[in-house]
């Protein structure tokens, strides 16, 4: 997994609240038993005028030339709510996003981000909005700069600090594989598993 330490990049604002994972990637875009090849379906219902021909919708912000190659997404509250589909994160990451900034996230979505090297960064809506206004003035020049170690984001001439769970930070900074991490604690898990078999034996009986 690609790690996340620092990132400076082009930001794009889509500030509407409650953008769900169906909007991020519609179910009909999840065509293969695979985590790859999903970026084309990102925001498909908004991004294309017609789904079949894939004719770009010029009114959708990601299709505007000044936002081409955006890597930071500025969002409204509760981004990534709804379906647990990890495809939403795979699509965003494959498209080139490295960080999503919002006042809050769908819980499963935020967990999925961390497991795929995408930083879910929580900031108050007033700050997200301030950054968005600053970005819109000159997207190419006004690029936010994120430092995960320091837990700061520099934008609109200010350094804003942000909170992140230390476990998530650790995993993102080192690009860790959570399974590998847990396997290091295998004796503890096994001991717990054995103990539980005597504590709640009915759970382990054959139906």
């Amino acid at each position: 997994m690609e790690n996340f330490v620092q990132h400076r990049g082009l930001a794009v604002p889509i500030l509407r609240a409650n953008i769900d994972t169906d909007a991020i990637i519609p179910s009909r875009e999840m065509k293969r038993v695979s985590k790859r090849g999903l970026s084309e379906g990102l925001f498909a219902a908004w991004r294309y005028l017609e789904l079949e021909s894939r004719e770009p919708n010029p009114a959708f912000i990601l299709n505007r030339p000044e936002y081409e190659k955006a890597s930071i997404l500025l969002c409204g509250n509760n981004f990534g709510c709804g379906s647990s589909r990890e495809h939403a994160v795979w699509a965003l990451a494959e498209y080139g996003f490295r960080a999503i900034i919002a006042p809050g996230f769908g819980a499963i979505f935020a967990g999925n981000c961390v497991r795929n090297g995408l930083l879910p960064l929580v900031l108050d809506y007033t700050i997200v909005k301030k950054i968005a206004i600053w970005v819109e003035q000159n997207p190419a020049e006004h690029q936010p700069s994120i430092d995960l170690m320091a837990q700061t984001i520099d934008a609109d001439g200010t350094s804003h600090s942000f909170e992140i769970d230390s476990g998530a930070k650790h995993m993102l900074m080192l690009g860790l594989d959570a399974i590998g991490l847990t396997q290091e604690q295998w004796p503890k898990v096994m001991a717990f598993h054995k103990e539980r078999q005597s504590l709640r034996p009915w759970l382990y009986e054959k139906a």
Binding site: R28, A45, K188, R200, E205
Partner: protein, 488 residues
């Protein structure tokens, strides 16, 4: 009414006050499954059972296959074919969804290789994962259960700690029998009063989300309590817990009681004989302490509650069926153009009545409302009546077992005589995956859980409501207060 656990005393005293308080049921279950708590990391939680389905489970299993990783205890892992299977009576692996067959075939192969229990297309127990799991007694009070599906919270209705995860987390749980999870805060949601006739679990949960917003439960696990919850039957409790995720909660949970225990008795996977006695004793002890500490508490008075229906494209955009579309956006909608956008998408005006909107289709199904009690309620409205001309009405039972039970009771005849299509089980048109769907800009009244843009078809306009409201609306051809049709 809303109040947090705030003490008027100083911070120091507040800590003492908290320490002396009892535990919530959520805290007890969490602690029972806590392998390790690290100050600088998420908690490592033991997972009792895992459910998968062909849509996201197939990817988790293929992920393991690619890396040569093994499922640790396959006897505790179950899988349903539900998301993209067709619901036509003569269905096969071929699906109306392009490439759907790939998911079905891959899931079958990986399940066989991993040695997990699969409820396949031709199995008489096949159905939607959150219908099948309780029905088979696989979910039980006090256990942890995860599934790469956001509506896993449904199963909290049985007093289990059940929550939805991503595919990567599913891989983690499959291989290590554990998950790294940040401990959520705990919110008690107490439903006071008594429900009026024609008002059910779907209405109370839509009302809750409308009151506090689609992000109202963010960061919390919910414990549903109070006289209204005590009076709900088990399947209605599943409806309530199902939509905890639409409130952005980690999960919903209801303490087991006599109804829970009676529900589980004789279920195929429920413990038997001496084991049942042991389990029952444990289940009876599962409750919050009377002085439990909660991070937040909500009290919702349901006495005057009317049937609810959504008007927008987020579940919180709901009103009483006698009500009107609000005049302006509130909360998260106020500043983000979400309000105008939702109305534009739904082709509604501020201040307009929701009841009376002409519908093109009516859908009864999904993990929210497709169980036998849901179908019985809808059938009560439909008996001796016809679906309005021009309305396409579809009923998809939540499992093949629900379907068989309904047929044994003659409910299928009530549905088909009224003009409803009667289907085999699956998630069906709860979402549009490229196969079967509702038409362009069609207005659909639906028992499902999500009214998102394009959820049930291209530009399809979904209104969420209870099974009786869907049945009544199908009959009159427009969004209808079910209480009139229930009087007879």
């Amino acid at each position: 009414m809303c109040f947090g656990c705030v003490s008027s005393s100083t911070n120091g005293q507040q800590m003492v006050w908290w320490e002396n308080m009892g535990q919530s049921l959520f805290d007890k279950l969490w602690d029972e499954h806590l392998i390790e708590s690290q100050a600088r990391d998420a908690d490592l939680i033991y997972i009792d059972r895992i459910f998968l389905h062909e849509r996201t489970g197939s990817i988790a299993l293929s992920g393991l296959h690619e890396l040569g990783r093994k499922v640790f205890s396959p006897e505790q892992v179950f899988c349903c074919m539900d998301h993209i299977v067709d619901t036509h009576p003569d269905r096969t692996d071929e699906t109306t969804m392009p490439s759907g067959k790939d998911f079905i075939v891959a899931t079958r192969q990986y399940s066989r290789d991993a040695g997990i229990t699969l409820f396949d297309l031709d199995d008489h127990r096949q159905g939607i994962v959150h219908v099948v799991s309780p029905e088979q007694g696989i979910v039980q009070p006090g256990m942890t259960l995860v599934c790469p599906d956001s509506h896993t919270c449904t199963q909290g209705a049985l007093g289990a700690l059940a929550w939805g995860i991503g595919s990567s987390e599913a891989e983690h749980a499959l291989v290590t029998k554990s998950l790294r999870v940040e401990r959520p805060k705990v919110m008690q949601v107490c439903f006071e009063g008594e429900l009026a006739h024609g008002v059910g679990a779907k209405d109370i949960v839509l009302h809750l989300i409308a009151q506090y917003g689609a992000a109202g439960g963010s960061g919390f696990a919910l414990e549903f309590t109070g006289p209204v919850v005590a009076a709900l039957d088990m399947e209605a409790r599943m409806t309530l817990c199902n939509m905890a995720v639409e409130f952005s909660a980690f999960t919903g949970l209801i303490a087991p009681d006599e109804k829970t225990i009676n529900y589980l008795r004789d279920k195929p996977y429920a413990p038997k004989g001496e084991s049942w006695k042991l389990a029952e004793e444990y289940w009876r002890g599962l409750s919050a302490d009377s002085d439990a500490r909660y991070d937040h508490m909500l009290v919702v008075d349901c006495s005057a509650l009317e049937p609810q229906v959504t008007w927008g494209t987020s579940p919180h955009q709901a009103v009483a069926i006698t009500g009107t579309v609000p005049l302006a956006g509130e909360g998260d909608d106020a500043d983000s153009a979400g309000f105008e956008r939702a109305l534009d998408y739904m082709a509604l005006q501020p201040g307009e009545s929701v009841a009376g909107q002409v519908v093109d289709a009516a859908f009864i199904g999904s993990c929210t409302n497709s169980r036998i009690t849901d179908l019985r309620l809808a059938a009560k409205v439909l008996l001796g009546r016809k679906v309005a001309k021009g309305v396409r009405a579809i009923c998809v039972p939540g499992s093949m077992q629900v379907k068989a039970q309904a047929e044994a009771e003659g409910l299928d005849r009530i549905f088909t005589d009224s003009g409803f299509e009667w289907r085999a089980s699956g998630c069906s048109m709860c979402f549009f995956a490229g196969g079967e769907h509702f038409g362009f800009q069609e207005r659909v009244i639906s028992t499902t859980n999500r009214n998102f843009e394009n959820r049930q078809g291209p530009k399809t306009r979904t209104h969420l409501a209870s099974p009786v409201t869907i049945a009544a609306s199908a009959v009159l051809g427009c969004i209808t207060d079910p209480r009139e049709l229930l009087k007879r």
